[in-house]
Amino acid sequence: MGIRETILGLLEKDSRLTAERIAVMTGFPEAQVAAEIAAMEKEKVILAYGAVVDWEKTDRDPVTALIEVRITPQRGQGFDRIAHRIYSYPEVKSCYLMSGGFDLMVIIEDASLKSVARFVSERIAPLDSVISTATHFILKKYKMQGTEFAPKSEDDREALFV
């Protein structure tokens, strides 16, 4: 694995890692790590730094829905133009073109069931190319981006001489 993949693997798990800490962990010189990170940010290999949040433990507990969207591709533009019209709304957290029984998987986060329903009926369903939608609400998150929501966090090993 090259230096870029090594750095990305670490940052994907913990985006707060500094170039200095990555350098210690990997043995690459700190200046080289910093330069690679800067280059990857510029080249949009690294698009953003974020945190995995369990919103249920906060005062804000948004509703997340997966919406399957079937659409008619447009001449010369395929699915990209209609996808752009959908994912440009800030409520849309993710949007993927899919193989199989539907075309777009749209992941929406909003304040309430009602606001999600309104978003689907007022923003997505009326679009000309949209044939149908099916909305699935997420009831409980067990694991997201490789992180378990209820991990066994305590190191409860007894001290033992081995």
Partner: protein
């Protein structure tokens, strides 16, 4: 009748470990304390392996296995050793599945040693070697390994320790507690010395998978002249994070393995069946999980070595296991004083090096099988601890 008097002289000759008091202190520590003292993986066994164990229970596989272990597992062990370390064994006559690597070491010593035979053990080393040899009625001859040699076994010191009564030499590389590894070239010189004796090598290779670049693990059994006089001990505890499953194995010359299986049959019967099913899955499908754990250990290893050196302690680059073994003599403290003071003042537990034999005095064992957050905090405290003590 005094039950104390009923105990055998052999058992009584093994004194309770001086380290016990220290570990009682560690277990009594309250919040805010960090232990880098336990020599076992912090990772939970990979899910595919746990799932295989659960599945075997659901299927009602709750009975004894054959004494030497399920043939399916012995076959997978042979495939694995061939694939990873170029070692070839016959699953029917040259493999015994044991209750951890520790049982395999005990079996090998008991199978080989008659009262008064000598067993050569390089130190510092895993504490079981000496006690198991004593329990097998052996006379233990230790060979010191020193920091200036990277705690590797020096062939000339080994030569001086061998005698016509030497029955076995116990090698433990990668090493607990030092993290030292022996390269093929270095082992070749040891092999030259051993070729001049009739000693059987018991090669404890539990940490083989935990060998970090640029080093690669070399088994002494892969030397043609050593193949028929080496018992390779390996297992699942360290490489697959399966300490609690208690499963390991020994491979080697058929007559020795048959003798070991004889003892195993009467003392243990057979290794845990659930663990054997889990181990089959481990060998078949978990290379990627092992690689991920090794990569994580390697990152932590670099963090600890870097921090220890920044704390003013000298430390060779340990390329195996999950231990760093820094020299703490610059602080003016003994190993025991260092560990007890560090524990009391900074609430961090590391193990005194002398617990692993005389040459470990002046060193401490830091285990990095802990979360990176705990390691970084502990290293911060180490730097604070040594700051006022190193002139």
């Amino acid at each position: 009748m005094n039950p104390e008097q009923a105990l055998s002289r052999r058992v009584r000759s093994i004194r309770p470990s001086a380290i016990r008091r220290f570990f009682d202190l560690v277990n009594g520590m309250k919040d805010g304390a960090i232990s880098l003292s336990i020599g076992e993986p912090d990772f939970v066994t990979p899910w595919a392996i746990r799932e295989a164990g659960i599945h075997s229970l659901e299927q009602g596989h709750t009975h004894y296995s054959p004494n030497a272990g399920f043939r399916e597992l012995r076959t997978e062990i042979c495939r694995y050793l061939d694939r990873r370390f170029a070692l070839r064994y016959d699953p029917d006559t040259q493999v015994v599945v044991t209750v951890g690597g520790s049982e395999a070491i005990d079996l090998a010593l008991r199978a080989l040693v008659d009262p008064g035979d000598e067993v050569v053990v390089p130190e510092p080393c895993f504490v079981s070697y000496l006690s198991c040899a004593v329990l097998a009625d052996a006379k233990v001859v230790t060979v010191p390994c020193y920091a200036e040699d990277g705690f590797k076994l020096d062939p000339e010191r080994l030569r001086a320790a061998l005698s016509p009564r030497t029955k076995a030499v116990v090698l433990g590389f990668p090493s607990n507690p030092t993290g030292a590894v022996m390269s093929r070239d270095e082992l070749a010189k040891v092999v030259e010395v051993l070729e001049g004796s009739d000693a059987v090598v018991i090669s404890d290779e539990l940490y083989a998978e935990l060998t970090y670049a640029p080093a690669t693990h070399c088994s002494i059994a892969s030397f043609p002249s050593m193949r028929d006089r080496t018992v390779v001990v390996n297992g699942f505890s360290k490489s697959f994070a399966m300490t609690g499953w208690r499963i390991g194995y020994a491979c080697g010359p058929a007559p020795i393995l048959a003798a070991m299986n004889k003892i195993h049959q009467y003392a243990i019967m057979s290794s845990p069946t659930t663990a054997q099913y889990a181990a089959i899955e481990a060998l078949r499908s978990c290379d990627a999980e092992v690689a991920a754990m090794v990569a994580e250990y390697d990152r932590r290893r670099r963090v600890v070595v870097d921090a220890v050196r920044k704390a003013g302690l000298s430390c060779f680059d340990p390329l195996g296991a999950f231990y760093v073994f820094p020299d703490i003599r610059a602080t003016g403290l003994t190993s025991t004083d260092f560990c007890e003071t560090f524990l009391t003042e900074e609430k961090v537990a590391v193990v005194p090096g002398n617990a692993f034999g005389g040459p470990g005095e002046g060193f401490v064992r830091i285990c990095y099988a802990y979360s990176i957050e705990n390691i970084e905090e502990a290293m911060h405290r180490l730097q604070r601890f040594t700051a006022g003590r190193i002139k």
